[in-house]
Point group: C2
Chain length 277, copies 2
């Protein structure tokens, strides 16, 4: 294996991967190397461009910490996250559709009771969120774990506020015996994804805006059902057709309704896909 050139090097690398014990890892690495090499050949990548790529990935890694996941942002903005969601969530008609996870979920958010104010001090217009969790057959799903998180009126998640010591705009609650739940929060607003890092540089260099339409995140888990990771988007938002991370599904767009008494309510019903027996 000497004197490899631009034509035979790909087969040489694949040969080196041929002893990979895990067949799935072997399949993934084989495909990855083929596409990575095909990309470099197709654009005839220069050595300076290669180094720029190394530096971009390094800066992206250095931007990642407990509060910031720049590689998820990169995957989101290149459409890879939504593609992966689409590849893995071909649910039957009638189920709530999935969308991207995003970089702002936090494990072990505060567990709250129905009616709690999950905003917990986050700025914004108060609203009431009411919903239900049902299975595809129409059955109520009791005790489903409902993990909700959102940005506030300043377009920030709590983890983006330096020095904030407690959770704001995030909580975990459980559906009641009838599958229903409700909580208070603030109205979701559109916000730009964090663009002070390498991903922001990429967006500017490609003349793309960083905005996401207003949304609430939900992750809903219940025994016997596929876990649902999704958003509820706010109807009328100017960015619904140009979401920076390609996550909008029409079936997930809902109204935050202004009530006659001046309050605002959002109603949304989730339908889970049963796990195949």
């Amino acid at each position: 294996m000497r004197n490899l050139d631009q034509y035979n090097i790909t087969q040489a690398v694949l040969a080196r991967l041929s002893q990979t014990p895990d067949p799935r890892l072997k399949q993934i690495m084989t495909s990855l190397v083929q596409h990575l090499h095909a990309f470099a050949r197709e654009v005839k990548l220069t050595e300076a461009e290669w180094m720029a790529g190394i530096e971009f990935l390094t800066a992206t890694g250095h931007k990642c910490d407990d509060q910031r996941q720049e590689f998820i942002l990169l995957s989101d903005t290149l459409g890879l996250s939504m593609l992966t969601v689409a590849l893995n969530n071909d649910k039957p008609a009638g189920c709530t559709e999935a969308t991207v996870f995003g970089p702002f979920h936090v494990e072990d958010a505060p567990r709250v009771e129905h009616g709690a104010d999950v905003a917990n001090g986050a700025p914004g217009e108060p609203c009431q969120v009411r919903g239900s969790v049902r299975g595809l057959g129409g059955e109520a799903v009791a005790g489903a774990e409902i993990d909700v998180w959102q940005a506030d009126a300043d377009g920030l998640y709590d983890v983006q506020r330096e020095g904030l010591e407690h959770a704001q705009g995030r909580a975990v609650l459980r559906s009641g015996p009838d599958g229903r739940f409700h909580f208070r929060s603030v109205v979701a607003e559109p916000y730009p994804i964090p663009d002070d890092g390498p991903v922001g540089d990429m967006l500017r260099a490609t003349k793309r805006h960083p905005w996401r339409p207003a949304h609430l995140h939900f992750m809903i888990r219940a025994p016997g059902y596929e876990t649902l990771v999704t958003h509820v988007f706010r109807d009328g938002d100017p960015y619904l057709d140009s979401d920076a991370v390609f996550g909008v599904r029409q079936s997930l767009v809902a109204d935050w309704v202004k009530q006659p008494d001046g309050s605002t309510t959002l109603d949304f019903d989730f339908v889970l896909n049963p796990v195949k027996p």
Copy 2:
């Protein structure tokens, strides 16, 4: 741009890149997105595998610092570095061939005079390196900057030795009026690339060894000539046919010769490609 699925999302991302002002960046991003998406579709990447990829890249970024470039190691071990070298160094017959840059070059290595001991305390069997720099037409190239770096008998570059404050096994010198140069050092030995990080995990998971055949690195720069980044490999090395980074070229394999007086010498002549006028 709502309701993107696994089939139409790629075109949607490309449309979002269509306003990129720099045509070369647009070309590279377009190709990158197409191949990245084709990879995910081809293997039907699962959400858990996607997250494993995010975590792998994050760990790779976190392993990078002033002394360690894990993304270059990753590129090297996936053959991308050597592919990029091959794509950009199609030199005329008679020129010294190029190979990978590697992650261990340091800017501003000590400048030394001919005859200096560049090992500078690095362990190993002493040797004398003698060579010349010529142009493709046979002309001596005087004053060429010769940047040399190598691992020592322990298989370590100086930057891998914690607490070492001075350069070992690296220096910059200039060719004389006749294009010749010589310096003392230690005999190069095979060594494993650093495998205590994510790239090492990848090598183990794919049952690949981390070894590189013994070599000296050279970067040679002279006005009027293409910069040459290459190695001189040591003949007889057990890893010449399975270099972990795919960098061996037969024309770069040379003898470290044991002389009758017990000393060891390496002779190698470099031929540079003139820059096209």
